[in-house]
C-alpha cells in the first residue's frame, strides 16, 4: 500500500478526528483542514456535526494536535453560502425539498475542497463519513443506523477515486470507544441531526426570514379550499402537522401534504393513501456503480436520508431514471435524492423530479 498525501477534513466532531487518526496509522502523510463554512461563526449552532462554529474549529485544532498532524483552516464560507445555503432556500421556494448535506458533499467537500487539495499536491480527501469504498464503488457502512452512503452517493467515480472513508467498517459505538482510547476529547461530543446553518433548528423560521410571508390556499384533491397557510415553503410532502385546516376531513382521518405548487402557492392535501407513489422520475443520475444502466435493473432505492430502502426496478430513459417501486411509498418529495443500491453497494443517485401514484397502463 502506497503512502498517500491525504487532506483530512476535521469538522470538530468525533468521526472525522478518528478517521484522520486512522489515516495516519495506515502510513499516509496526513494534513488536517477545518472548513470555515460560516461567515458568522457565532450564528451557527454549537455542538453541531461540525464545520461551523468557533468551538468546532477549536475542537478540530485540538484533535489535530493530539494526533500530531499540521492543521489549517480554509475559508469556504462564500462558496458554501452560494452552493448550499442559497440552493436550499431556492429549492424550497420552488416547492421542492432539498437535502443540503448532499449539496455540501457534492459541491464543497468533494469538489471545492478536493480541487484545492489536488492543486496543492494532495492525493485524497479523508472524512469521517460512515461508508465504504470497495473497487472504486461506494458501499454502505457496517453500521446501518449511521450509514451515510445516501449523502455520498452524489459523488462521481472520479471524486470517489480521491476520497477516503476510514470508518466504514466500524460502528459508531466502536468509533467513540476508539476515540476515547486515542485520547481525543471529542469522543463524547454529541452528534447532531439538524441542519448546520440553521442555528436554532427552526427551518420554518429560517425560510420565512429569507422568503418572507407568502400566503396561499390549502386545497383537497377535488380542488376545494380547506384552509390557508402563510408560507408554502414551510411544508414538506407527507407532512401532517401544522396544517391548520379549517375543519377536519369528512372521514375523520388526518390529511397530509401531497404537493406544493409554488407559483400559485397552493398546497394540496389528501389522505395517507393519496400519498402513495409507485413511479418516480429522477434526473441527472450520477453513476457510482458499473456505469449507466443499459437495461431495466432490479435494485433497492432509498428515498430519504435514513429511510428504509424500497425494492424497485430502475430503467434509464434519456437523462432520466424511471424508478418503479414494487410496493408504494409515502411522502416522496421532489428535490430529494433517490439512491439505487444493489444489496449494500451504491449503483447510482439522482434528484427526484416527479412522482406518480400508479404506473400508467
Amino acid at each position: 500500500m502506497t503512502s498517500l498525501r491525504v487532506l483530512a477534513a476535521l469538522s470538530g466532531g468525533v468521526d472525522s478526528a478518528t478517521a484522520a487518526a486512522r489515516a495516519v496509522d495506515a502510513g499516509h502523510d496526513v494534513t488536517a483542514v477545518h472548513l470555515a463554512l460560516s461567515a458568522n461563526p457565532s450564528s451557527y449552532r454549537t455542538g453541531a456535526r461540525g464545520c461551523c462554529t468557533l468551538e468546532d474549529a477549536r475542537d478540530a485544532r485540538r484533535a489535530a494536535d493530539v494526533i500530531g498532524i499540521p492543521f489549517y483552516v480554509w475559508d469556504m464560507a462564500e462558496r458554501f453560502h452560494a452552493d448550499v445555503v442559497e440552493d436550499f432556500v431556492a429549492e424550497y421556494a420552488a416547492g421542492r425539498t432539498p437535502n443540503p448535506c448532499v449539496r455540501c458533499n457534492e459541491k464543497i467537500k468533494f469538489a471545492a475542497v478536493l480541487d484545492r487539495a489536488m492543486a496543492l499536491g494532495f492525493d485524497a480527501v479523508c472524512t469521517g463519513h460512515h461508508a465504504r469504498i470497495e473497487d472504486g464503488r461506494l458501499r454502505r457502512s457496517v453500521d446501518m443506523g449511521k450509514d451515510q452512503s445516501y449523502v455520498l452517493a452524489v459523488l462521481t467515480r472520479d471524486q470517489l477515486a480521491h476520497a477516503m472513508f476510514p470508518l466504514g467498517d466500524t460502528t459508531k459505538t466502536q468509533v467513540r470507544e476508539e476515540a476515547r482510547h486515542r485520547g481525543l476529547a471529542v469522543a463524547d461530543k454529541p452528534d447532531s441531526h439538524d441542519i448546520c446553518f440553521i442555528a436554532d433548528g427552526n427551518t420554518k423560521g429560517f425560510l420565512a426570514n429569507h422568503l418572507g410571508e407568502a400566503p396561499g390556499p390549502i386545497v383537497d384533491t377535488t380542488g376545494t379550499q380547506v384552509g390557508t397557510h402563510d408560507g408554502a415553503y414551510a411544508f414538506t410532502i407527507g407532512q401532517r402537522r401544522g396544517l391548520h385546516l379549517d375543519h377536519p376531513a369528512d372521514d375523520g382521518h388526518p390529511r397530509y401534504v401531497l404537493s406544493i405548487e409554488p407559483v400559485s402557492r397552493t398546497v394540496t392535501v389528501g389522505t395517507a393513501e393519496d400519498l402513495e407513489v409507485r413511479d418516480i422520475t429522477a434526473a441527472k443520475p450520477v453513476w457510482t456503480g458499473s456505469g449507466p444502466l443499459t437495461e431495466p435493473r432490479e435494485c433497492s432505492v432509498q428515498l430519504r436520508a435514513h429511510g428504509t430502502p424500497h425494492p424497485a426496478t430502475a430503467v434509464l430513459d434519456g437523462d432520466d431514471l424511471r424508478i418503479t417501486l414494487t410496493e408504494p411509498a409515502r411522502g416522496v418529495a421532489a428535490g430529494q435524492t433517490a439512491v439505487l443500491y444493489d444489496a449494500d453497494t451504491v449503483l447510482a443517485s439522482a434528484t427526484i423530479t416527479t412522482t406518480r401514484a400508479t404506473v400508467p397502463a
Partner: protein, 378 residues
C-alpha cells in the same frame, strides 16, 4: 530562547521567592529583580526607575495606550484623540479600538506611505486638525511585517512641540536595532523578553519620570503602584540576561542577518521574477532580518501550507479567531488591494537562521508559488 537565559532561569526556579515578601527568599528574589532592572535599564539607556515589568509586550501596550489615555483625558476631558499609525501591532490597535467603542475616544489611524513609513509631516498635519484634543501619539519603532523603521526621534519631537505624550512599541525593533530610551524622545516604550531571546511571559513598559498611566492592574501596588502583581523573578532574570547578551551581539548579528536577508531577496526574486518586495529597500530603513513579498496570483495561505510542508516557517501576518488566514492589515494600510495583500508572505530571519535556511527556501519557492497559483484559480 538563548541558552544563557535558560540557564539562569532554571537556577532561579529552584530558589523561587516572592520579591515583595520580607523573609529571606523574598529578599533574595527582590535583589534579583532589582539587578535585572538595572541591567535592562542599562541596555536600553534608561534609568532603573523608568522600567516597569509586565507580562509581556501586549500588556505593556495595553498599559501605555489605555493608562496614558485615561490619565490625560482624566486631567483634561477635552483630550480624546488617539493618534496611532494604521500599521501598529494589534495590541495597540485593539486597545485603541476598545477605547473608541467604550470610552468615547476619537481614534485616528494615520496613513503611512508606500514604504510603510509615517513621516513627521503627516503626523504634524494630523495633530493640527485639533492639537488641544490629542491625548496620546503612539508609533511603533519598526513594523514587524514589512520591516519599516519609523523616524522615532523626529516624530517624538513633533508630538512634544504640541505638548503631547509619545509612546513607541519597540517590541520588534529592540532585538535588531539600537533602541535607546534616553535619546529617542519617547515618553513611553514597550519591549518584550522573548524577542530578545528571553522567556515568553515577561516584558517591560519604560516610562519617563512624571509620565504616570492609570493602572490597568490593581492589587498589591507593585512597580510603584503602576502595575500590581507578584513579580516573576526567574523570568525577569532571564529577560535581563537575554537583553545583555543580545545587546552584545546585536551589531554583528544585524550585519549577519542583513547579508542573509539580502541573499534571500535575491534568490526569491530569481526564482519568482514577478514577486514584489514590500516595505522599504534593504538598508538602515528596514529591519535587518525582515523580508516581505507579494506573489501575484497566489493565495498566501495556500503558499504558507506548501512551505510549511517543507519545514519553512513564514507568516501571512494575521489570523482571525477561527484560524482562517487573513490578508495583512499592514499591507492593506500601505495601499495594497485585497488580492495582493492575500498573496503576501513575511519571511523573518533570526538568531538561529543560516544560509542553508535561505537556500532551502529559495529551492522550493518557485514550485510552491506555481502550485498556489493553480489552487487560486479554482
Amino acid at each position: 530562547m538563548l541558552p544563557e537565559a535558560i540557564e539562569v532561569m532554571t537556577e532561579e526556579l529552584a530558589q523561587l521567592g516572592n520579591p515583595s515578601s520580607l523573609h529571606n527568599a523574598g529578599r533574595r528574589a527582590r535583589r534579583v529583580v532589582e539587578e535585572s532592572r538595572e541591567q535592562i535599564a542599562e541596555v536600553l539607556r534608561a534609568r532603573p526607575s523608568e522600567v516597569v515589568f509586565t507580562s509581556g509586550g501586549t500588556e505593556a501596550d495595553n498599559l501605555a495606550i489605555k493608562g496614558l489615555y485615561w490619565a490625560r483625558a482624566g486631567q483634561d476631558p477635552h483630550r480624546r484623540r488617539l493618534l496611532v499609525t494604521s500599521i501598529e501591532h494589534h495590541a495597540v490597535l485593539d486597545s485603541v479600538r476598545w477605547l473608541h467603542a467604550h470610552e468615547g475616544a476619537d481614534a485616528c489611524y494615520l496613513d503611512v506611505n508606500g514604504d510603510g513609513v509615517l513621516t513627521p509631516e503627516a503626523l504634524r498635519a494630523a495633530i493640527e486638525a485639533d492639537p488641544e484634543a490629542v491625548a496620546l501619539v503612539s508609533v511603533m519603532w519598526a513594523n514587524n511585517e514589512v520591516g519599516a523603521v519609523q523616524p522615532i526621534c523626529e516624530l517624538a519631537e513633533v508630538a512634544h512641540a504640541y505638548g503631547i505624550v509619545f509612546h513607541s512599541d519597540a517590541v520588534q525593533a529592540a532585538a535588531q536595532l539600537p533602541v535607546e530610551f534616553a535619546g529617542s524622545g519617547a515618553d513611553a516604550l514597550t519591549v518584550t523578553s522573548h524577542k530578545l531571546g528571553g522567556p515568553i511571559g515577561v516584558g517591560a513598559l519604560l516610562l519617563r519620570r512624571g509620565i504616570e498611566p492609570v493602572p490597568v492592574l490593581h492589587g498589591g501596588g507593585q512597580e510603584r503602584d503602576v502595575r500590581s502583581g507578584t513579580l516573576d523573578a526567574p523570568a525577569i532574570r532571564a529577560f535581563a540576561t537575554a537583553a545583555v547578551v543580545s545587546a552584545e551581539r546585536r551589531e554583528a548579528e544585524a550585519k549577519r542577518l542583513s547579508v542573509l536577508r539580502d541573499d534571500l531577496i535575491r534568490q526569491i526574486t530569481e526564482a519568482v521574477p514577478d514577486a514584489v518586495l514590500n516595505g522599504p529597500p534593504p538598508g538602515p530603513g528596514r529591519l535587518p532580518g525582515n523580508a516581505h513579498f507579494s506573489f501575484p496570483g497566489c493565495e498566501g495561505d495556500a503558499l504558507l501550507m506548501l512551505l510549511d510542508a517543507k519545514d519553512i516557517a513564514c507568516s501571512t501576518g494575521s489570523a482571525c479567531t477561527a484560524g482562517v488566514a487573513q490578508p495583512s492589515h499592514v499591507l492593506l494600510a500601505m495601499g495594497a488591494d485585497e488580492d495582493r495583500a492575500r498573496g503576501s508572505l513575511r519571511f523573518s530571519l533570526g538568531h538561529t537562521s543560516t544560509q542553508d535556511d535561505v537556500n532551502a527556501t529559495a529551492a522550493v519557492i518557485g514550485e510552491a508559488v506555481e502550485r498556489a497559483r493553480r489552487a487560486a484559480s479554482r
